[in-house]
Amino acid sequence: MSTPPDAAHTQPGLYVPGYVRDHDTHPPLDFPGYKSTALRHPKRPLTLLPHMLTEVTSPVLGQDRVGELDHDLTRQHAEEPQGQRIIVHGQVRDSDGKPVPRTLVEIWQANAGGRYRHASDNWPAPLDPHFTGVGRTMTDAEGHYRFVTIRPGAYPWGNHQNAWRPAHIHFSLFGRAFTQRLVTQMYFPDDPLFFQDPMWNSVPDPKARERMLSSYDHDTTEPSWALAYRWDIVLRGREQTPFESEEEILEDDE
C-alpha cells in the first residue's frame, strides 16, 4: 500500500484474462416478431471491446443488499398471497462449471392471476394485496440460490393478435464481472404458450431456449406445503486462467 498515487500511469501493460464470448446463445437485438425491437436496436454493427480491467470486474455486493424476507415472496405482507406456493432454486455456475458464489440474484414476476403490481399493467385481472412480486437473495458459497414464491400466471399483451406471455419469472444476475451481467427469464416446463411467444422464440437455437426452462423437482418439494422447480443458470466463464503477469504487476507495485 506504499504505491505512489501515479503508479497506474507508470506501469507497463496490465493484462487480465477476458471472458468467453457467447453470441450464439443470445437473441438478436433486431427481432421483428417482438415489435418493440424495431426502434430500439442499433443499426450500426457492434464494436468489439477487448476485455480489460473495467470489464472483468463488477460490484462486490454484500448481504446488506438483501432484507431478511426478500427471498420469500409469500411472507412480505400481513397475509399470504393467492396462488400455488412454489420453491424456485438452482445453482449459478460459469461456463467452466465453476459455481458463482456470493452473487446477487434479483427476481420480479406477475401474481397468480398474471398481473404485475405496476402502474402500466391494467389488464382485467385482480391485483393481490398480499403480493408484491419482487425478490432478492445472494448465492451461497457453492452458488446455490433459493426463493419461495407463488407460480405466476400467464398474461395477454399487445404484440400480436391474441398474444399471451407464458408464465415466467424475471431474473437479474451480476456474476463477478461486468461481462457476466445477465438479465433473463425463467420459464416453466410444458407451457402451451411457447409456440406464439416472440421472447422465447427470439433465442435462435432451440437447445438454448431449453436452458431458460426450469424443471419440476420433486425432491425439493415440501410435503403438505410447496411444489418445487429447479433452474440452473450458466454465466460466461474465463477465457483462460490468470497467469504470471499478475505477479509482475504486484512486484512493480511494491
Binding site: D22, M52, T57, Q185, G237
Partner: protein, 187 residues
C-alpha cells in the same frame, strides 16, 4: 475449456420498475462526498422519442483507476461511500442520473486507457442489454491515446462516447438507433 453453454438473455420487459430499481441505485457515491458529480442523460429510440422504460447501469474505476475487486491485482484504495456501480431507471421523459466520482485512468494491456465508465442499457423492446462507454470531454490527450476510442474510425461515431459538461456535472445521452446512434460494443 468452456463445456457448459450459457443461459440466454431476455428483455427486462415493461415492468422492470418493480424489480430493478434500488432506493440508493443512482448513488454510485454517497451524496455530499467531495468531488461527486452528476452524470445525467436521456435515452432516445430510433424515432427520436424518449425511452421511459429503460434502466441505465454504470461501472467504473475509482479516482485512482482501481477497482475494489479481487481481480484487480493492485488492490483497492479506500473511498468511503463509493460503490462504483450506479443503477437508475429512466423517468417519463427518458432521463436518468448517476452521482459518482470521476474515475482515474485505467491500465490496459499496452498502456493506459482514458478515464471511462462502462454503461449498460436495458429496456423493454431490447432482448439483451447494449453496452457503451462514457469518456470525459476535458481528457482530450488521454482520449486521443485511448485504445478503444482509437479503434473507432468515424469521428462522429467516436464523439457519441464523449460526455459533455453540463453545469457541475456531465450529460451523456444514449441514442439507440438512427441519426447520432451511440456506439455500442460487442462485450
Amino acid at each position: 475449456m468452456s463445456t457448459h453453454p450459457t443461459t440466454p438473455a431476455q428483455t427486462v420487459g415493461p415492468y422492470l420498475h418493480i424489480g430493478l430499481p434500488w432506493p440508493d441505485g443512482p448513488y454510485a457515491v454517497a451524496e455530499g462526498t467531495p468531488g461527486a458529480v452528476w452524470i445525467r442523460g436521456t435515452v432516445y429510440d430510433g424515432a427520436g422519442e424518449v425511452v421511459p422504460d429503460a434502466v441505465i447501469e454504470t461501472w467504473q474505476a475509482d479516482p485512482d483507476g482501481r477497482f475494489d475487486h479481487p481481480d484487480d491485482p493492485r488492490g483497492a484504495r479506500s473511498y468511503p461511500g463509493f460503490r462504483a456501480f450506479g443503477r437508475c431507471p429512466t423517468d417519463a421523459d427518458g432521463g436518468y442520473g448517476i452521482l459518482t466520482l470521476k474515475p482515474g485512468a485505467v491500465p490496459g494491456p499496452h498502456g493506459d486507457q482514458a478515464p471511462h465508465i462502462d454503461v449498460s442499457v436495458f429496456a423493454r423492446g431490447m432482448l439483451n442489454r447494449v453496452v457503451t462507454r462514457l469518456y470525459f470531454p476535458e481528457e482530450e490527450a488521454a482520449n486521443a491515446a485511448d485504445p478503444v476510442l482509437a479503434g473507432i474510425e468515424d469521428p462522429q461515431a467516436r464523439a457519441t462516447l464523449v460526455a459533455r459538461r453540463e453545469g457541475e456535472g456531465y450529460r451523456f445521452d444514449v441514442r439507440l438507433q438512427g441519426e447520432g446512434e451511440t456506439v455500442f460494443f460487442d462485450i
